[in-house]
């Protein structure tokens, strides 16, 4: 990594999210992904002359829900504008968007970046309609207007992020909010969540922003992270090579193979969009009571869970964010939570052990068939000392292989998993360990506490993890003290 002590990256994100409304932003055509081309279309989203747009109230409601969720100001009067550009995927050759008076103003996103809790500012969010999609064939190109007119909310951040990790955490947090609101599928591969990253760097301490470039078309957060990192590297190298360099404004894409950003077009070539108020849509007026009603009926949000996890459940911010960024996983955790007294341990087993075990199968906790209470049961077996951590891992393996079988049953059926609580057998093991480790005994007598832990470990190992830790502990202490 280049010199980040000297250089500060400045990143702003434009997150475009398709709202999962039944119909499109300005018409009654169905809003559905994956159907045969040009089947979910109507006179409005194919730009027929004589057709008129009508605002989808469900899309407005979802946008307002988002605004309330991020503590933004909801504009009681917002307006729509025409944004003109010619392209075959644009059925009217203008997009209807909110340029001058967007529906959502300000707001902030609080999330963990690693173990650090950070707050990122939103500049505004506005509603608009999506374009169709061009499909290229060998001798011609076709346009699929199924996507044309799908409601989009574009959430524009302040240039308030300073690393790829910041950007990914911010985008993840927005995705989580949308999922908790049930406002979008947020599927980057299907394009229902798309990020444009604006990136510049400046010398640390420098007040002014330097020229930024924009990266588009990244289809996963992982790619976005790599793209941002590559772009920061590129800019640092440019300025290092020539301190007076002026980076031209431009739009880039990320080449996954070369792991570098590639110029698509310079901004100087950018069009004049000739924004002006959409005469077919009067200002969108919202009543205070409508906004209040939405505020009151918001579902539990990731932010509330986040605070509950770290404050009440003592879960680390990073682990909490692992849960929160995956709504189904988090919901699973919530269910298991009702059956456990050790949320931290449960969190670890859910987010690390089980997610890791399921990773390659393509399954999620939800689709694994393992009931949430079984996880709680496993945690409780560990907590009570019925099984050791090491055996718990073996039990977990079996839970994945035979979903639905309870950890209790697994342990009961397998004598190897049952703890040795026979003190005679344990005593024998302790004797052997003491005999094999005279140096540790000396260390113990010299008040080196590590020696005790070491001896415990050795004895546990000899028992293949099955010795009841409390009995083992008692016997080892007694033996050492009597030496």
């Amino acid at each position: 990594m280049s010199n980040l002590h000297e250089w500060e990256p400045v990143i702003g994100l434009e997150v475009h999210i398709q709202l999962n409304t039944k119909s499109k932003m300005f018409s009654s055509a169905p809003n559905r992904f994956g159907d045969e081309p040009n089947t979910n279309i109507g006179v409005v989203c194919t730009g027929q002359p004589g057709s008129l747009p009508v605002i989808n109230k469900e899309a407005v409601r979802k946008a307002v829900q988002f605004g309330c969720a991020v503590g933004a100001e909801i504009a009681l009067v917002s307006t729509f504008d025409r944004k003109s550009y010619f392209y075959p995927d644009s059925p009217r050759n203008f997009q209807i968007t909110q340029f001058e008076n967007p529906i959502i103003l300000g707001g902030s996103i609080e999330t963990a970046v690693g173990e650090e809790i950070k707050t990122f500012q939103i500049h505004h969010a506005h509603l608009e309609d999506d374009a169709g999609m061009l499909k290229h064939f060998t001798s011609f190109a076709g346009v699929d207007y199924n996507r044309a007119g799908v409601p989009l909310i574009e959430i524009v951040s302040e240039p308030c992020m300073h690393s790829a990790a910041d950007a990914v955490a911010y985008a993840n947090a927005i995705k989580a909010i949308m999922e908790y609101l049930n406002a979008s599928d947020c599927n980057m591969e299907e394009g229902s969540l798309r990020c444009d990253c604006n990136i510049s760097i400046r010398k640390r301490g420098e007040k002014q922003l330097r020229n930024k470039i924009e990266i588009k078309n990244m289809n996963s957060f992982r790619n976005m992270e790599m793209a941002i990192e590559a772009e920061i590297e590129r800019q640092i190298a440019l300025y290092t090579h020539d301190p007076d360099a002026i980076i031209p404004k431009g739009t880039y894409r990320f080449d996954l193979e070369k792991k570098e950003t590639v110029l698509m077009r310079l901004k100087e070539e950018a069009e004049d969009y000739r924004y002006f108020p959409e005469p077919d849509l009067p200002p969108l007026l919202l009543s205070l009571s409508f906004v209040e009603e939405i505020k009151k009926t918001l579902p539990e949000l990731p932010k509330q869970r986040f605070h509950r996890y770290i404050e009440e459940l003592q879960i680390s911010p990073y682990s909490a964010s692992l849960l929160l960024n995956d709504k189904p996983l988090c919901d699973y955790f919530e269910e298991a939570l009702a059956h456990t007294s050790n949320p931290r341990l449960l969190c670890n087993w859910v987010t690390v052990e089980f997610v890791g075990r399921l990773k390659d199968s393509g399954k999620t906790m939800g689709s694994s068939g393992i009931p949430p209470n079984h996880l709680a049961e496993l945690v409780s077996l560990i907590e009570k000392g019925t099984i050791t951590g090491k055996i718990a891992k073996l039990v977990a393996d079996e839970m994945v292989l035979a979903p639905g079988k309870s950890p209790n049953a697994i342990v009961q059926e397998n004598p190897d998993y049952q703890p040795v609580s026979d003190s005679g057998a344990i005593e024998k093991i302790v004797d052997e360990v003491l005999q094999e480790n005279p140096q540790s005994i000396a260390d113990f007598q010299a008040k080196k506490t590590k020696a005790y832990t070491y001896l415990m470990g050795q004895a546990m190992k000899k028992s293949r993890g099955k010795a009841d830790p409390s009995i083992l502990n008692a016997i080892l202490t007694k033996k050492l003290e009597s030496l």
């Binding site: 747009p53 000739r274 005469p279």
Partner: protein
């Protein structure tokens, strides 16, 4: 029979004295005889009309309830969609465009058993005041076939004037219903903006466009307005207020209505036009109206404001005509840019091209503040001036056009042509209801029109005043000389 009003046709059909089929056939026959000379229609839907007429007659025979326009033939301006019929909008670009849906107005009319006869000529995309900008044909004024019927709803106006149909729909963005109505001696009404749904009207200047009727009388105008003047959920600018019974409102007395006169605004009128206007005002006074001076000096700016705002909106409304999805696609085009460029080149006429250019220019970065934004501000001021005027009067009277019908081809300079819209544009800028009602003739027997305007949503008051004026005169009942000649 062709001279029957829409109200009379409906009544006779309800009574069973005439059949809808006979009525439709009468209209089709007259069109066949006379429209070669007039050129009002771009297309007819005879078969469809006959079918509908037979259905109306069958309904009547079965004793089923009939609609308010039972069996009344009606012509539709060709920028208003009738499902399944070609909507050319007077443009080569849409020569092959079959409307995939009916406009709300057409649906409402057909629900009331009106019978659509055909589509009428217009200036391309309603851009013009003479119907000469049509890509297809020049429509002639039935009062003098060497003259234009005005425009852009010239086809609809000429069709009603020549009594080819009793009723027609037009659209009015800057006077396109009222001016041709005045020039052809019929009644033309532009409703309050939002009173009639624009769904299915091919947009020119969306914030100014309004569909309205052309008819031989105010009573027929009121009748059709009762049907089409209602809320439409498919047009977000549609007014939600319930529809009104205008016919009933007509019958109230005119006593005590105060008419505002913008005297200084009309001082440049020709002697004859001014005399015609003052005569109309005197008649209104004799009917019990009082008059008051009002200041509408800002209306001098209305042409400039209009040609900025209408063209700005038009430049984006017409952007969809790109040769990709519908309409014509140039056969010369090999690349995407060529599809855009050549299709527009071949599909649009010169007036449309220049208005798109003008509209694009006034919206461009660096010019938008000086033109589009400033024009919006002046528009607001014009609205305010109207509001002040209406504080002192209920109705404003104005001429419709500075002069009666003029010879085809007389305007070579579009700027000169734009100036004749000086009296009509302001109603569109302020969204006001305004009517043109026949007010007499020039020395050479060409009709004049009187314009009456009301505050927004006072459509009934405008129709009411016009009705009483019309009842006190005979101008609406005088058929054009064209009729005399042909029928001899």
């Amino acid at each position: 029979m062709y001279q029957l009003s829409a109200n009379a046709i409906r009544d006779l059909i309800l009574k069973g004295e005439i059949s809808a089929l006979t009525m439709v056939q009468t209209c089709l026959k007259r069109i066949a005889h006379h429209d070669k000379e007039v050129g009002a229609f771009l297309s007819l839907c005879a078969e469809r009309a006959v079918e509908k007429a037979e259905k109306v007659d069958a309904k009547r025979k079965k004793g089923e309830p009939l609609g308010k326009l039972a069996g009344v033939p009606i012509a539709i301006k060709d920028n208003i969609h009738v499902e399944g019929l070609i909507s050319t909008c007077g443009s080569r670009f849409l020569s092959n465009y079959r409307a995939p849906f009916s406009s709300t107005v057409v649906e409402l009319l057909e629900q009331e058993d009106a019978i659509i006869i055909g589509k009428t000529n217009l200036d391309e995309f309603a851009m013009g005041s003479t119907t000469e900008n049509s890509a297809y044909q020049v429509t002639k004024n039935p009062w003098d076939l060497s003259c234009t019927p005005g425009g852009s709803s010239g086809g609809s106006a000429a069709a009603v004037s020549a009594r080819l149909v009793p009723l027609a729909l037009g659209s009015d963005t800057g006077g396109s219903i009222r001016q041709p109505a005045a020039l052809t001696g019929v009644v033309g009404f532009k409703p309050t903006y939002g009173r009639v749904s624009r769904f299915g009207l091919v947009a020119y200047g969306s914030s100014l466009d309004q569909i309205g009727p052309l008819a031989a009388s105010v009573a027929d105008t009121a009748l059709i307005m009762e049907i089409i003047g209602r809320h439409c959920s498919r047009d977000a600018t549609s007014i939600t207020a319930p529809s009104e019974n205008y016919g009933k409102q007509l019958l109230q007395g005119l006593q005590g209505v105060t008419i505002g006169l913008p005297t200084s605004f009309i001082q440049d009128l020709s002697k004859e036009a001014k005399a015609n206007f003052m005569q109309a005002v005197d008649l209104l006074k004799s009917l019990g109206c009082t008059t008051v001076e009002i200041d509408l000096s800002l209306l001098k700016q209305s042409i400039a404001v209009y040609y900025i705002l209408a063209t700005a909106e038009a430049s984006t409304n017409l952007a969809r005509f790109d040769g990709i999805r519908y309409g014509i696609r140039s056969e010369r085009a090999k690349t995407l840019d060529e599809v855009y460029e050549f299709s527009k080149q071949e599909g649009f006429g010169p007036e449309v091209k220049s208005r798109i250019l003008l509209g694009t220019y006034v919206l461009s970065a660096g010019f938008q503040e000086a033109y589009y934004r400033k024009a919006q501000k002046v528009r607001t001021l014009i609205m305010k001036q109207f509001a002040s005027a209406f504080a002192n009067c209920q109705i404003i009277a104005m001429p419709v056009s500075p002069f009666p019908a003029f010879p085809i081809g007389s305007f070579q300079d579009p700027l000169q042509m734009y100036l004749q819209d000086i009296y009509t544009i302001a109603a569109n800028l302020a969204g006001l209801p305004a009517i043109s009602v026949p007010s007499g003739f020039s020395q050479d027997q060409k009709p004049y029109g009187l314009q009456l305007l009301g505050p927004q949503m006072h459509d009934g008051a405008v129709l009411h005043t016009a009705y009483h004026y019309e009842q006190a005169t005979t101008f609406s009942q005088i058929p054009p000389r064209f009729n005399n000649e042909v029928l001899g």
